[in-house]
């Protein structure tokens, strides 16, 4: 469900932006408008919608218009044209009082340079949003402390911002934004001023908090790694226009154009792709079959081991060709030779978390979902192959592995 709907929003900076809109409609581009009319097109006809509860990343290099775009969502910058609906109400048409209400109750913002008020203590900073709403002193102090505790700074309520480190200051910024319990959080390069280690820590914490709070977050960044790490969806901007919108994986795997391609080529794939995207369809068998069937299946598919599952496709273990032929000779059943100690990973694990487990496991690594159902296997080399950008190493339909696997079962057995 869309909570924010941005419809054909344009921002032109200059003395007479209205006249520029007409020129844009006549097909003038950004360069020509700047060269001949000295107006800057900040955001050019952008439309998108954001769903409730998602982290929507707007990403682009400096000058791409992303900061202008996010500031139009709470009208710190007035759009020249277009509509922006929040909960179905067009804030562009709102009067001053209505806008102040929206800013007080529905949208909070976290800033790149923290923007903490230096003359107020940490708690007074966090209280600010409630203070301007006229909330009682004791109540807002209590809420501020709660909010600070949420970001791990409960003990610093009476410090001044200047006494805190950058990372802590931005936590205060986050606590301030959360204190009035808004539906929407605008984060403008919120972690860009932090050093890389702290930045990662903050990203993790944001994801953790988001798990509990389920806010709608618009996150602005120029850092693709960050976008891929925290975004449910990513909007890529260039020169004020939208280049591509999609999930991190869509952006990585199907760049909309050369620009996105150049952007993503340096990305560390191992931090974007998941186990599900490199796994293959598993060859499986159930325990009521005999060792001869198992050998036959392995011979047909040219592999040296089979995963054993129960009727519900829950993973039970693995058998090897060697053990199976011994079992045939000695008259044992499959149950006698199942190896239960199998390396298992969750389907959402990122590739870089798989290196270790893949290199130490004797057998292919099993990929399971949260119910321990076998989703696929990762064979040796698949991870490296995927990192090298070889699409053959990926499952045919990573989006629907269960359907694909169920078909596989009936064919196998």
């Amino acid at each position: 469900m869309a909570i924010i709907e941005v419809n054909q929003v344009t921002k032109v900076f200059g003395n007479d932006p209205e006249s520029i809109l007409r020129l844009m409609d006549d097909g003038w581009n950004k360069e020509k408008i700047y060269r001949e009319r000295k107006h800057t097109v900040g955001v050019n006809n952008v439309s998108f919608s954001v769903n409730a509860g998602e982290i929507f990343v707007i990403m682009g290099l400096s000058g791409s218009g992303k900061s202008t775009l996010v500031r139009m969502l709470n009208r710190l910058i007035e759009p020249t044209r277009g509509s922006i609906s929040i909960h179905g109400k067009d804030i562009v048409k709102m009067n001053k009082e209505g806008l102040i209400k929206v800013r007080q109750k529905q949208i909070s913002m976290v800033f790149q340079k923290f923007a903490l008020f230096p003359h107020r203590t940490v708690a007074e900073n966090v209280e600010y949003g409630l203070e301007v709403q006229g909330v009682d002193k004791a109540v807002r102090r209590k809420k501020a402390i709660e909010s600070l505790t949420l970001v791990g700074l409960g003990d610093y309520a009476d410090s001044l911002p200047s006494q805190l480190s950058g990372g802590m200051q931005q936590r205060v910024g986050l606590a301030r934004a959360l204190a009035n319990d808004p539906d929407i959080l605008l984060m403008d390069e919120a972690f860009s001023a932090l050093d890389p280690l702290i930045r990662k820590e903050m990203q993790d914490e944001l994801l953790e908090l988001q798990d509990k709070m389920k806010k709608t977050i618009i996150f602005i960044t120029h850092d693709l790694d960050e976008a891929l790490r925290i975004g449910d969806r990513i909007l890529l901007m260039k020169d004020g226009s939208v280049v591509q919108v999609g999930t991190p994986e869509e952006v990585m795997m199907n760049p909309a154009n050369e620009y996105v391609e150049r952007f993503v080529e340096d990305v560390d794939l191992s931090k974007v792709l998941t186990a599900a995207s490199v796994m293959r369809r598993p060859e499986t068998i159930t325990l009521d079959r005999g060792p001869r069937v198992a050998l036959q299946l392995m011979r047909e598919s040219g592999i040296s081991n089979l995963f054993v599952v129960d009727r519900g496709r829950r993973l039970m273990g693995v058998i090897t060709a060697e053990d199976a032929s011994a079992a045939v000779r000695e008259g044992k059943t499959l149950a006698d030779i199942v190896i239960h100690d199998v390396a298992v990973v969750d389907k959402d694990k990122l590739l870089y978390q798989l290196f270790d487990i893949c290199s130490t496991s004797k057998h292919p690594v099993a990929v399971v979902n949260s119910n321990n159902r076998l989703m696929g296997v990762i064979v040796r080399g698949a991870v490296l192959g995927a990192l090298a950008g070889n699409p053959d190493q990926r499952a045919d339909q990573p989006a629907e592995p269960i359907a694909a696997l169920t078909e596989g079962v009936s064919a196998n057995v």
Binding site: A115, H119, Y128, V132, S162
Partner: protein, 279 residues
């Protein structure tokens, strides 16, 4: 080409103002006289020693014991030279000018900070006020308010108010853009933004303006004495007209002591503020 009758025009305007706004000038005159007399009477009522002890205590609170000691010694010297009563008169004149300058200057500074149009009108006026020789104001001031302390205060305010206006404007405009944005983003009204963010952060700058205003009004006391304002300024002026170098030096020294004490006090208020707010 014949000379423009600018002098006639100005005189006509002044005459028109004098007749047209007489009741207003009368009210202003009463207010100013009230403030000056209130301050002067209170300070005259206090015994010199009590006043000196209080001033030194304030000096200690705002600065260090060194400043407190200077205040005590300086004021004792003035008392010893027999200039106490006149110094108090001067102090009353200076403080009245300062109060009026703050009352007029701070709101005007805020206005110019919030509107480029207001600033566009105010700035050239301030330039005019600061560069037009101060003696020139004395003439219409006397026409409107007669002789005495009131036109002295008026001339001092005109001469001394610009720094307060300029530095209030500057201080508010210098509040970092991202902080103003943050205040807006959380749904502050303009009033809330002004009182909760802009004025507190502009305070050091505003106080510097007030400090400069006080210094400038002190520099006006001799000129003000030429139109009948009482105080050490009159002593200096008298010494000049009678070529009494020694007396002139004594009275001048009293002004210097007063200037240093007032300057350090207001500066230390700035510093204390800054430490507290950590700006």
């Amino acid at each position: 080409m014949s000379k423009l009758p600018l002098d006639k025009w100005v005189e006509n305007i002044v005459d028109a103002l004098e007749t047209g706004l007489k009741p207003l000038f009368h009210v202003i005159s009463l207010i100013i006289e009230g403030i000056v007399n209130g301050i002067a009477n209170t300070f005259h009522w206090l015994p010199a020693l009590v006043f000196i002890v209080l001033a030194a205590a304030l000096g200690y609170y705002l600065g260090k014991w060194k400043f407190a000691a200077f205040t005590a010694v300086g004021l004792l010297l003035i008392d010893n030279l027999g200039l106490w009563e006149h110094t108090i008169d001067t102090l009353a004149l200076v403080l009245t000018s300062a109060i009026l300058s703050i009352v007029i200057g701070v709101p005007l500074g805020i206005g110019s900070a919030q509107s480029d149009r207001v600033r566009g009108i105010v700035t050239p006026l301030l330039d005019f006020m600061q560069t037009m020789p101060a003696f020139v104001y004395l003439i219409p001031a006397v026409t409107f308010f007669g002789l005495g302390v009131v036109p002295g205060v008026i001339a001092s305010v005109i001469f001394a108010v610009p720094p307060t206006i300029r530095l209030t404007n500057l201080g508010i405009r210098q509040v970092p853009e991202d902080l103003v944005e943050a205040a807006d983003a959380f749904g502050s009204t303009s009033r809330q933004k002004l009182f909760k963010l802009q004025i507190p952060l502009a305070m050091p700058s505003i106080m510097t303006g007030i400090n400069q205003t006080i210094m400038l009004s002190l520099s006006m006391v001799v000129i003000a004495s030429m139109i009948g304002a009482q105080g050490v300024g009159a002593d200096v002026y008298g010494a000049v007209t009678q070529i009494k170098t020694g007396e002139g030096f004594e009275a001048g020294l009293a002004i210097v002591v007063l200037a240093i004490v007032l300057d350090r006090m207001t500066q230390n208020i700035v510093r204390k503020n800054r430490r507290g707010s950590n700006v």
